[in-house]
């Protein structure tokens, strides 16, 4: 946050000795672990999509309803959503300042949550209906 302008204190002294948020390591670790997962699951995803391109509706349904593609697709969705939520957060923190930053961060979290839920819901629906 930009804080009040015109004060005698510099931005540095306003934050000095407040300490860190204590969440940096966990976030760095998470984006690395999901990154490794996304490399493997992403390659599987491309392979799966190449399998689907020549299929009709029923073929796509039948393929995605199998447990292995369904579970790996769910894993890719979860890992991907977590990864992109953290990635977009770092973009927002780099380029957006002041009150819009908070709104952008909230929008990012909500967008990722809704998108993830929609993808998980649809994948499970294909499997179970």
């Amino acid at each position: 946050m930009s804080g009040k302008s015109g004060g005698l204190r510099t931005p540095l002294t306003r934050v000095r000795f407040l300490g860190s948020s204590q969440k940096g390591t966990a976030e760095a670790w998470t984006i690395h672990v999901t990154g490794i997962a996304n490399v493997l699951l992403g390659l599987y995803f491309v392979w799966l999509m190449l399998d689907l391109v020549h299929m009709d509706y029923n073929g796509v349904r039948a393929t995605l309803a199998h447990p292995v593609p369904a579970i790996l697709l769910l894993a890719f969705i979860l890992s991907g959503i977590v990864h992109m939520e953290i990635g977009m957060r770092s973009i927002v923190i780099d380029y957006v300042d002041g009150p819009p930053r908070a709104w952008a961060l909230i929008a990012n979290t909500c967008f990722c949550a809704l998108l993830g839920l929609a993808c998980v819901y649809a994948t499970l629906r294909i499997s179970f209906t």
Partner: protein, 136 residues
């Protein structure tokens, strides 16, 4: 100028570090920027995956709408861009893992890895699309 007014109304602006426009463009710099841009693109592109899954889970008519879009010129262009973004970001990520392990930061290797990411991303995209059209 505005600086005299700023001097009166408050502290003068803090000095800023130089940004992109002042540096000579290098391949590592371009790939760093592309890593972020492709990450952003994939973020938006997941909407396409959501549409695909929701359409497939709904019925044949909904899936038909999706198929019509993805089969159109615009759809193919977007999907091609998504494929490239995926491979570019994937290879860029692997490059980050190599750096994290403590390798690939020295002079000739860092440029070679950056070029490898750029060329590899395009190559994997073209191979994927070649396979995609071959199996059709």
């Amino acid at each position: 100028m505005a600086s005299t007014e700023a001097a009166r109304s408050g502290p003068r602006p803090r000095p800023l570090s130089p940004h992109l426009q002042i540096y000579k463009i290098t391949i590592t710099m371009v790939m760093s920027i592309l890593h972020r841009i492709t990450g952003f693109g994939l973020y938006v592109g997941v909407l396409l995956l959501a549409w695909f899954l929701i359409a497939a889970s709904t019925d044949a008519a909904a899936f038909g709408w999706f198929s019509a879009f993805i089969g159109s010129f615009i759809g193919q262009l977007v999907l091609f861009g998504f494929t490239w973004a995926l491979f570019n970001h994937l290879l860029g990520g692997i490059r980050h893992f190599v750096w994290d392990a403590g390798y690939g930061l020295e002079d000739p290797i860092r440029d070679q890895m950056a070029w490898g990411t750029a060329i590899g991303g395009i190559a994997l995209t073209l191979i994927t699309w070649a396979i995609g059209y071959a199996v059709r």
